[in-house]
């Protein structure tokens, strides 16, 4: 029932109001005298050396796309897990076949060294 989600909506609403409110109150009460060193991005005390919007290496992309693939795999586990007893042995075998096909791919990328950061 949608009524069950009213607490979640209240949570979202409180967050959506509280965060801008604290920022606004902080803006009203704090002294405002900006300075070059103050406005600098904070990088653990070290002066920033380069533009943060530079181009990243493509290895991040491999990790991201593999994450999405195994994310989809995890989603398929949910409807099986909630019906585990009803589906019984047949469902278990079915899920193992599904997982076996993906584990073949996992072993393949591992052997190919796509997960190694070299």
């Amino acid at each position: 029932m949608p009524q069950n989600y009213v607490p979640i909506f209240l949570f979202v609403a409180v967050v959506a109001i509280a965060i801008p409110a604290t920022l606004m109150i902080g803006k009203l009460v704090r002294p405002n005298n900006p300075e070059k060193a103050k406005l600098m991005p904070y990088e653990c005390g070290i002066d920033p050396v380069d533009n943060a919007r530079g181009r990243y290496t493509v290895r991040f992309y491999i990790v991201a796309i593999l994450f999405v693939v195994f994310d989809v795999e995890t989603i398929f586990l949910f409807p099986w897990a909630v019906q585990y007893r009803a589906l019984g042995l047949f469902g278990l075998v079915e899920m193992l076949v599904f997982l076996a096909i993906l584990i073949v791919g996992y072993v393949w990328i591992w052997k190919k060294g796509a997960l190694e950061w070299v």
Binding site: M1, P2, Q3, Y5, F9, R53, R55, Y56, V58, R59, F60, Y61, I62, A64, I65, L66, F67, V68, V69, D71, V72, E73, T74, I75, F76, F78, P79, W80, V82, Q83, A86, L87, F90, G91, E94, V97, F98, L99, I101, L102, V104, G105, Y106, W108, I109, K112, A114
Partner: protein
């Protein structure tokens, strides 16, 4: 529960989704566009909840707002943002875009006007806590082969990603 609440939430979520979608195409900074897209996707998840489909809403949040957005952000970080910020926001293809969106709008209008004969209204009031269970039963009983084919599709995606991104296999 007053009967006005579902209407209120529908319009609230729809407004968030539409405003987010407009921000996606109007922001100059691609990172801002991606953040607006997250708002749109979360609002759509809320709409799925209102349609008694919590499993689809969960998938929407975990896969789209989680996984696909990570992918989008990595693609944005791979391309050169400085150049895209200097470019003109709407290029010459907006004529084609207008035609396509008008055609889609007329299609929606037609379905809205005459849709009751094409898609008969069939209010199945299923108990919501059983939604994920029903998806599970349908997936593992009736749609067994498509489910296994989905794993092959994921395998192809893994191989394709590695082949595309690695220089030497």
């Amino acid at each position: 529960m007053t009967p006005v609440a579902p209407t209120f939430f529908f319009y609230l979520l729809s407004t968030v989704a539409v405003v987010g979608a407009i921000l996606v195409i109007t922001r100059k900074n691609p990172v801002h566009s991606a953040l607006s897209l997250i708002f749109t996707l979360l609002a759509l998840a809320g709409l799925y909840l209102m349609l008694y489909a919590p499993f689809v809403a969960g998938v929407q949040i975990i896969l789209y707002a989680g996984g696909i957005m990570v992918l989008f952000l990595f693609v944005i970080m791979l391309v050169n943002i400085e150049r895209s910020q200097r470019e003109v926001q709407f290029n010459q293809q907006w004529h084609v875009g207008i035609i396509a969106s008008l055609a889609l709008g007329f299609l929606f209008l037609y379905v809205y006007k005459h849709g009751s004969s094409i898609f008969p209204v069939n209010p199945v009031s299923m108990p919501e806590p059983m939604n994920t269970q029903q998806v599970g039963m349908a997936l593992f009983r009736n749609y067994l082969l498509p489910f296994e084919i989905a794993s092959l599709l994921l395998l192809v995606a893994i191989v394709g990603a590695v082949v595309m991104a690695k220089k030497r296999i």
